[in-house]
């Protein structure tokens, strides 16, 4: 049960971090969506129900803080999670190159999704952002994703070690 409060805390911390520290680090020029990388990682490592809840909560928190329409990221993160799960069952996904390409494509796909949604619902043309905002964002996310995956793997190992210690009989 510790999984749920811990993952909520992790998702919340990552989103606050990306909105403040990462934004300041890149001087507001490029956004790095750490929360999306976290959801992709969950897709590779978490089982369906836990991961689904995790993706949904992460998307919801990001919706609350980003100023976007509520549900925009919740829906996208859930789709990305199950898409990643689908791939994990079929191919070996721990390769660095694969992680980079997959993250790159997910960020681009997210851009396309936002552009299409805003055009169809609000009649706002955001297509300019595809190559001006989302392409650099996808490149940065793709390049940094293996390092972030390594960090998350380390956290996961720590978490499981702690989990095992707490369940071992005294």
């Amino acid at each position: 049960m510790i999984f749920y409060p811990l993952s909520l805390l992790l998702a919340f911390s990552v989103i606050v971090l990306q909105r403040t520290f990462v934004d300041l680090l890149f001087a507001g020029k490029i956004g790095l969506e750490l929360s999306l990388i976290l959801v992709i990682f969950a897709g590779f490592h978490f089982e369906q129900v836990r991961g689904g809840i995790f993706a949904m909560v992460t998307g919801f928190l990001f919706d609350c803080l980003s100023g976007a329409v509520m549900g925009l990221y919740t829906f996208f993160y859930v789709v990305v999670f199950f898409l990643t799960r689908l791939l994990t069952d079929r191919i070996y996904s721990e390769q660095m190159f694969f992680i980079m390409i997959f993250t790159f494509l997910c960020v681009l796909f997210e851009g396309l999704y936002i552009v299409v949604l805003y055009k169809s619902v609000f009649d706002v043309n955001m297509s300019y952002n595809l190559y001006r905002v989302f392409l650099p964002q996808a490149l940065v996310a793709g390049v940094l994703s293996p390092a972030l995956f390594a960090g998350l793997n380390y956290l996961e190992v720590l978490f499981h070690a702690g989990d095992r210690r707490s369940t071992e009989p005294l």
């Binding site: 993706a55 100023g67 199950f82």
Partner: protein
């Protein structure tokens, strides 16, 4: 039972996707609705974000103060000269202000609504985000509500779109969803200023026959009821009459530097003056 086990994965995915899709479509129909959970998340995140921003601001100001003192004396001299020039300019404007006041009285055009302002500190300004919003540290407990205009001394910042108990979210004039009824100060050409995200804002629906040129100031028209009349929105960056079309293509540079926002003022309509007899 076998059927359920075989398609269990698919069923779980389906449930999650449908649930999130329901959430999205509900809010697409009712944009701007702030629920309890959203308020709680905003309230929880704001002190942390404020702490991180204050730390960075502190480091930055330390850097600015102690490491960039070179040339400060020359800058001071220039600024003193500038102050003297501006003082003269203010005097002439003051004269004009009194004159306009007298003329208004003569023409019975006195304002009917007075405004008061509430100062608020910006606690979150994610510059890289596609959605141009900021969070300020005042909310419904301080008398703020959705729709109130937000300004700085440079001009209009935006309007409040979400208010929690102690924090509010402001939709900047540069956001794609921001549309403000505007006027070009000199020619009185009218249009709608729409935010352009990372690009310049666009002044839409300006007639081809209107005289609009680069450098003209764009102000609020007062129509629409959200922004008071005459507040500065920006200056015209480009004005182009294309071969076809009823309207001109006008781009506007916002007056406010959104990358350096620290404090803002929220305008609150105070009271109506007694109607003239």
């Amino acid at each position: 039972m076998f059927f359920f086990k075989k398609y269990q994965g698919l069923a779980i995915a389906f449930v999650f996707i449908v649930a999130s899709l329901v959430l999205l479509s509900y809010h697409l129909k009712r944009p701007g609705q702030v629920g309890f959970f959203k308020k709680t998340v905003m309230e929880t995140a704001s002190p942390i974000e404020k702490g991180i921003h204050s730390t960075f601001q502190g480091i930055k100001s330390l850097w600015d103060r102690y490491l960039f003192l070179v040339g400060l004396e020359n800058e001071n001299r220039d600024l003193r000269k500038k102050i003297a020039d501006l003082q003269n300019e203010i005097n002439s404007y003051r004269e004009m202000y009194y004159e306009v006041g007298r003329l208004k009285k003569i023409l019975s055009l006195d304002e009917t609504i007075l405004y008061s302002t509430v100062a608020a500190r910006v606690i979150s300004n994610e510059r890289s985000s596609l959605f141009k919003t900021i969070i300020i540290e005042k909310g419904t407990d301080d008398g703020l509500s959705e729709g109130l205009p937000v300004i700085t001394q440079q001009g209009i910042v935006g309007r409040i779109i979400e208010s929690s108990w102690n924090v509010s979210r402001v939709l900047l004039v540069t956001d794609y969803n921001s549309n403000i009824d505007a006027l070009v100060q000199g020619s009185r050409a009218q249009g709608i200023l729409q935010g352009g995200g990372p690009q310049l804002s666009r002044l839409k629906y300006v007639q081809r026959t209107d005289e609009v040129k680069t450098g003209d100031t764009v102000v609020t028209s007062g129509l629409g009821g959200v922004f008071p009349k005459g507040l500065v929105l920006g200056t015209i960056a480009t004005a182009e009459k294309r071969e076809t079309g009823l309207f001109q293509h006008v781009e506007v540079m916002p007056a406010v530097d959104f990358t350096r926002l620290e404090e803002v003022l929220v305008i609150i309509p105070e009271r109506s003056k007694e109607k003239r007899k």
